[in-house]
């Protein structure tokens, strides 16, 4: 069952994204993707055409997973952070990290950084490298397993 997000709900989502990350627009059709995930579709097929296709084949997924809903927070998916439409809008709760911190972060370690409680976007140079959540004492790591670097930490 494909569940399209209504425009009234999209507005609410966008309001939270604006508050947490500074996003003001999302040009995508949003779809409920299961496991509290929201997917974004930028394709040209209408809702009716998508549903029609769903009657002919097993639609596994539509578009891309961009947001997960956790409690009161919305987390932007690791892969979506580097899509220009999203990347260029992120302006809030950005924490810049060093090369050394990046090496730890991309291997799944939490970072001992003090900052305000809540979701944060980690930035290394001009790249966003994932969302974390701060408890004011440290930032918990949400880099998905398959995006973590598998090589051992470089010797400093």
């Amino acid at each position: 069952m494909i569940k399209f997000i209504k425009s009234s709900e999209k507005k609410k989502i966008l309001a939270v994204l604006g508050e947490q990350y500074g996003l003001s627009s999302l040009s995508y059709l949003l779809i409920e993707g299961g496991r509290k995930k929201l997917r974004a579709f930028s394709g040209s097929l209408s809702k009716e055409e998508i549903l029609g296709l769903g009657n002919l084949t097993n639609i596994e997924l539509i578009g891309m997973y961009i947001i997960s809903r956790r409690d009161q927070d919305l987390r932007i998916n690791f892969d979506a952070l580097s899509i220009p439409e999203i990347k260029n809008q992120i302006s809030k709760n950005i924490i810049k990290i060093s090369k050394q911190q990046l090496e730890l972060w991309m291997r799944g370690h939490d970072l001992e950084i003090k900052c305000e409680r809540g979701p944060v976007v980690l930035q290394f140079q001009d790249d966003f490298v994932g969302i974390g959540k701060s408890n004011t004492e440290k930032i918990f790591n949400y880099v998905p397993k398959e995006r973590k670097l598998k090589t051992p930490l470089p010797i400093s």
Binding site: F41, G43, S44, E60, L61, I62, P84, M106, L149
Partner: protein, 325 residues
């Protein structure tokens, strides 16, 4: 430094390849190169980053990167000797800035020439190298229906599409023939373009998959050929008038290449179009064993590893002259 492998061609395979490459020096070059590891190519994912920006990032890592094809700046050759797995474990890869893809495998989407706003069917889409390339060319507009059959293959496809930030794709899981049959019978919107990157015997992938030397078996080409003809026949039913179907394989076997295109030319209202690809192509053959193919199969494109220091490939571009049922 190029590594070499110890595997040898099976006698029957060697004999077939000698028929396809009759010139002795040419064959010697083929034999030499198929025992060497392939070059390290990547494709810049222009959905997320421009080739120029990626180049700067890779140069900062002290990687030596060349862009060998001026009209295709997204195609990059990594000339540095990297550690095993380094290419797939780099931050830029995890961020979806590039896709590790052998250059000959980039040819089918180049031949397809996807445009934004088109409706495109990628019939056997996993692992997603060509789907991501198509979506990038479409600037994430239009729609790609990316189909595959097995859930394990779909998972790999999803992971690659998400890493590359592809948002214009619908992933379908169905047998390719059943899907085309349903789409055609129930009069679903016809596609502007279809890619049939068919399952094949993989003779062109000896450099990256040396196990092909061992598992190669000439009997399989006949059954694959029958299946590939079905794929093309059913796919054509889902194509718009004047729509384009690109058929490709990673094998040299004429049964799976020219014979399939010959079948399409003789049974469907299609014409074959000449390809302009960035690699050296040899024309399709018109005679193989006791079979003579349509003269137009010369317009298909055979990629031999010794011509381009690449893998082997086959690409053909068909245009549908009138809709079929």
């Amino acid at each position: 430094m190029k590594k070499t492998f110890k595997y040898q061609m099976k006698p029957a395979f060697e004999e077939r390849m000698k028929s396809l490459i009759p010139d002795k020096d040419d064959f010697a070059q083929f034999e030499k190169i198929i025992h060497q590891e392939p070059l390290s190519f990547i494709r810049c994912n222009t959905i997320k980053i421009s080739p120029c920006e990626l180049l700067k990032k890779l140069n900062r890592k002290s990687w030596q990167v060349k862009q060998p094809y001026p009209n295709f700046p997204e195609v990059m050759l990594i000339e540095s000797d990297l550690l095993p797995g380094e290419l797939g474990n780099a931050l830029e890869h995890q961020l979806g800035y590039y896709y590790i893809q052998e250059v000959s495998s980039m040819l089918p989407p180049i031949a397809l020439n996807p445009q934004p706003e088109e409706l495109i069917l990628d019939l056997m889409a996993s692992p997603g190298s060509k789907t991501t390339q198509i979506a990038a060319k479409m600037q994430n507009k239009g729609t790609v229906v990316a189909n595959d059959l097995k859930i394990q293959r779909i998972k790999i496809l999803v992971s690659n599409l998400e890493r590359c930030g592809v948002t214009n794709t619908i992933i379908s899981r169905k047998d390719a023939i059943a899907l085309c049959s349903k789409l055609a019978n129930l009069n679903y919107t016809k596609f502007d373009k279809i890619l049939v990157d068919a399952p094949c015997s993989g003779e062109g992938t000896l450099r990256s998959s040396p196990k092909t030397f061992i598992i190669w078996n000439h009997k399989i080409t006949k059954s694959l050929s029958r299946q590939q003809k079905k794929f093309i026949a059913f796919a054509l039913k889902c194509l718009k008038k004047s729509g384009v179907l690109v058929y490709s394989t990673c094998t040299h076997a004429p049964e799976e290449n020219e014979e399939v295109i010959d079948f399409a030319l003789r049974n469907f209202p299609v014409k074959i179009e000449t390809l302009a690809l960035p690699l050296k192509c040899r024309p399709g053959i018109t005679k193989w064993k006791d079979k003579t193919f349509h003269q137009d199969v010369k317009k298909t494109c055979r990629i031999y590893p010794q011509d381009n220091d690449s893998e082997g490939f086959f690409v053909a571009k068909l245009r549908l002259l009138e809709e079929t049922k």
